[in-house]
Symmetry: C2
Subunit: 373 residues, 2 copies
Amino acid sequence: MNLSELPTPSLLLDRDQLARNIARMQNSADRLGVSLRPHLKTLKSARAAEELIAAGARGITVSTLKEAAYFLEHGISDITYAVGMVPAKLERAAQLIARGADLKIMTDSVHVARAVAEAAERGGTRFRLLIEIDCGDNRGGVQPGSEELLQIAQTLEGSLAELQGVLTHAGHSYGVDDIAAVARIAADERDAVVRAAERLRNAGHEVSTVSVGSTPTALFARELEGVTELRAGVYTVFDLDQQSRGVCDTGEIALSVLASVIGHNRAAGKILLDAGGLALSKDRSADRFRPEVGYGQLCELDGSPITELYVTSVSQEHGHVRVRDESDYARFPVGSRLRILPIHACMTAAAYDYFDVIENGEISDRWDRVNGW
Amino acid sequence: MNLSELPTPSLLLDRDQLARNIARMQNSADRLGVSLRPHLKTLKSARAAEELIAAGARGITVSTLKEAAYFLEHGISDITYAVGMVPAKLERAAQLIARGADLKIMTDSVHVARAVAEAAERGGTRFRLLIEIDCGDNRGGVQPGSEELLQIAQTLEGSLAELQGVLTHAGHSYGVDDIAAVARIAADERDAVVRAAERLRNAGHEVSTVSVGSTPTALFARELEGVTELRAGVYTVFDLDQQSRGVCDTGEIALSVLASVIGHNRAAGKILLDAGGLALSKDRSADRFRPEVGYGQLCELDGSPITELYVTSVSQEHGHVRVRDESDYARFPVGSRLRILPIHACMTAAAYDYFDVIENGEISDRWDRVNGW
């Protein structure tokens, strides 16, 4: 099957570029002397996870328990669920562990740690808990120097639940477009989690995992002494958000949306596509550094970007493209097809149940993915 | 089952409010003397379509051929596909017609009209075509006074394909928050499509359908002389986008996302929820008139809004809520639950495969929905 036969919109995954991106991050982890636990929140695909593991990944990271269940069904058991646990989700986590998952859960709350310890006793489940550390992102996590850090670890003592280690995410590395600044954030990320690990060890706790990661810091960290693993996800396919920050080149973006031209509105100076807010997402993360890219960069069917042609606005099922000049109408007639590079791959991919995998411009495979919660 | 037993995030549909919203729009259509063909792009649910039809709707509107196939499987055959057709989708449309769909398709392109006429001849399919008119929204559509309007109709002559009529959508009614301005846009919307119908009739073409609609114009049009039907969709559940424009009250919003508090970050002054960009969407349509609502308004479990508590930012699986003061941490402990009113219901609902339907605060039913293309 080729790209003229697929329905539109469809989600395309360039397998050769995926392999290059996987190798780039694995090389970075190898260089830094840490293991790589890729975040499957972007691809949510068992076939993709297999490629990652074959390339050297040790275990995976997920963002929902539904992902954890899906990957376990596909034979991948070493899973870190890297979103804060709540007591009501412990039963579902215990079921996954009973079915063979080597599941690590996470919290930054003494209250939740207590619930984990109690649920472990009640159900005989050996929960393994990571303590989330805030390294400056201001999302989840206790401060590395906080009292709560030690309290959470103490709460588990004497219960069946075990402390696994500490984890942080430098999400603020997405806020800069300067690689030297990314390297400084990577150093802060490392320092925060290593400091937390040391405080726990000094208090007599065993700390096996010291986990950091975000695509920018994982690629541009200078050293990660004391860290055991890297997590990152969007690097598998990259996107215009990452490109706008200098983390990747446009040519490294392995994900695109295949769309059809469904109309010309010459009075308004635009071409309309059948890929709108649902097919692309309404994410505008690239705005800060590249406002011109709007909701996506248009490409030829072979994947080469078309200069200055972007999805300038969207409604639910329509992508609006401001034409450069009259000649664009002849060049992109109604019914013709284009590809669109996404702003934020994780958000765009979530609208699709599968990837159409392309190799050498032909559809070679279809990889399912899991959505929802 | 009650709201403390559902997994989070979950999508809640308030059935009583849905019924009131359905009645409100049906009353508007009745008052204006036109039939109502609700747009199912928002709810994408057969059970919801049944409620609409029971309340007086005549046929439905859809935004994808996948929706059309889904509703046909559920016994609803009178369907308008109100996104521009392309030649490559005609075979799929013909299959739906062969399976019993009374499907109306739409274009604003002479090229597509020619492809429709040819496919009708080739496959023996009686396609019924609506011509899309631009009434000022600057999305799809030919100008009502344009030559293309007549050319599209002429293109069908002598083929098995039939002209069904004209259709327009005043999407620009979303750009104002002044009901008098909405009423003026509704008048323009009516004038554009009635003028197009007259020109077609004067040229000897039969025009059965003269279709207008957007939630604001459908509710606030003063008169629709010459129009045969109204289309609108988001009114079924409303959202903060519509509320910010004065089209509905907050209490009329029938859709919400159930979320759990997963962390407190006191250093950053925020509460974290397990509903982020995927669970809520990254749509910010309400920004223009109510920037403070961010990605959603927080509500108690009974649905009553919590003053000045909003999802202020999101990452993929995290909703960040800026606290008003210290007391919010005690009021919303980790593990507690909240509801979130969405910014744009169509975008939020698309992340879920079903609605958990609530009546009197209890889950009474689960309605499936169709996503994708």
